[in-house]
């Protein structure tokens, strides 16, 4: 992949959103804890078992200190990604989401568990912290999503050079129009959707009917993960006269590369853990945005401004060839 020498735009804003704002949120959590620290038991509960009962204890200072340290490391990583390789708006958005989420969720979760222990004589009486965990994580995700939306979009950057002569092409006469469309999904997509949906309903009914709180909490967890997997587990990839368009079932986040911004399209191979650290909508090396639902064949696109994109999809050779061919045609106009 090329483009490491293209400038990275909006560095200041990225730094503010990945470091400064999360630090303010972390400081807020500390100030909140300080306001009721005198009423905390000593030691406090710092770890809970699977049954929701506390099983680890320690001083409150080290509990929140440790979490803030982890949050700072995550924010530093997010800032490094966004500032060093945030050439594409999607890369900057993902970095901002990671930074904001870590900086808010981790300190505020710990602050929440401490707040639940306020006024207790003995930390062994500490209540279940699952509600605090989910409220903290979901609230942080919401704020992080808003932050990601504040990131400016991609600037228009038409390519100056022709598509390289050795790039793969498709035989397409000037009187022809073509549209390549594929969908790609995580293996077992329908099974996951079906089993996850049924499990959610069963757990929710059990929880409401029998009044079992744990069942309701599990229904929420399983339901949330199922919705996430269904929403981001299946993507549609289209190459046509408008360029390349990739979108999930819920149609956002949508990625569009206009033909005149295509430097070159190729066929690649993706190892999800090795190249992107996992599956989903992710950032990989050099800020490459990856839409990764499985391992193997992928359509990789070099876009102007050093913005790189990779999508796991079958028959990527046809998609890449058509994209290069249509990009040629757009250059001639």
């Amino acid at each position: 992949m090329t483009g490491q020498h293209s400038p990275v735009p909006h560095r200041l804003l990225t730094a503010v959103l990945t470091i400064v704002v999360p630090l303010l949120f972390a400081a807020g959590a500390v100030i909140w804890v300080l306001s009721f620290a005198a009423e905390l038991p000593d030691p406090v509960a710092v770890h809970w078992g699977a049954d929701g009962r506390p099983d680890g204890f320690g001083p409150w200072q080290s509990a929140i200190g440790m979490m803030i340290l982890i949050a700072l490391l995550m924010c530093g990583l997010a800032a490094a990604i966004g500032i060093r390789s945030g050439r594409a708006a999607a890369t900057r958005r993902l970095a901002v989401f990671l930074g904001l989420w870590s900086g808010i969720a981790l300190p505020w979760f710990i602050a929440g568990t401490l707040h639940l222990q306020r006024g207790l004589a003995d930390a062994r009486q500490a209540p279940d912290v699952n509600p605090a965990l989910w409220a903290g994580f979901a609230g942080a995700a919401l704020i992080a999503a808003v932050g990601a939306l504040l990131v400016p979009g991609d600037a228009r950057m038409p390519a100056a050079d022709a598509v390289p002569a050795d790039a793969i092409r498709l035989r397409l006469s000037d009187s022809e129009a073509a549209s390549w469309r594929r969908s790609v999904e995580i293996p077992g997509f329908h099974w996951i959707a079906g089993i996850g949906g049924v499990a959610t309903v069963v757990l929710a009914v059990l929880g409401l009917w029998r009044g079992m709180l744990w069942a309701d909490l599990w229904a929420g967890t399983v339901g949330f993960l199922t919705v996430l997997l269904v929403a981001l587990g299946r993507w549609r990839v289209v190459v046509d006269h408008t360029g390349l368009t990739v979108s999930p079932l819920i149609s956002r986040p949508r990625t569009h590369v206009p033909l005149d911004e295509v430097v070159q399209a190729e066929v690649g191979s993706i190892s999800p853990l090795g190249d992107f650290g996992g599956w989903g909508y992710r950032v990989g090396r050099e800020g490459t945005v990856g839409i990764v639902v499985r391992s193997g064949e992928a359509l990789t696109v070099q876009r102007t401004g050093g913005r790189n994109l990779a999508i796991t999809v079958d028959d990527a050779a046809t998609g890449a060839a058509l994209l290069n061919t249509l990009a040629d045609r757009a250059r001639r106009r």
Binding site: L172, S173, S175, E176, A177, A178, S179, W180, R181, R182, V238, D240, H241, T242, T318, L322
Partner: protein
């Protein structure tokens, strides 16, 4: 799959489209239960009129290859599962033989039409 339309082609556009979907089903690229793009999306994507795509889809529905459902779009039926490999092999060798003898495509299609009667 790859849809392509030749504006300079002899065949009408809706037929070019229908032929490709038939061929893709015969090759096994399209399977029963698989959904075709909505007529509106495909028309926009190929920069042709919605009417052309609907015409092609209606022809395929009349043949029983697809089902058109309100809100769900066009879905390949069980008829698309037919194994046409033998027929394709036979036609490939027929085409090779026609080329060897220097026959034009039109003449060859004429012979095929005759054989169909």
């Amino acid at each position: 799959m790859l849809f392509r339309i030749d504006f300079a082609g002899a065949e009408p556009l809706f037929r070019q489209l229908a032929d490709q979907i038939r061929a893709a089903a015969a090759r096994g690229d399209l399977r029963p239960g698989q959904r075709l793009p909505s007529a509106r999306e495909l028309a926009d994507s190929l920069d042709i009129s919605l009417h052309t795509v609907l015409h092609a889809y209606q022809e395929l529905r009349d043949e029983g290859l697809i089902e058109l459902r309100r809100g769900r779009g066009a879905v390949l039926t069980g008829a698309a599962a037919q194994d046409l490999r033998q027929l394709r092999d036979a036609l490939t060798s027929a085409a090779a033989e026609a080329k060897r003898r220097g026959l034009s495509l039109d003449t060859t299609i004429g012979l095929l039409k005759e054989a169909f009667r």
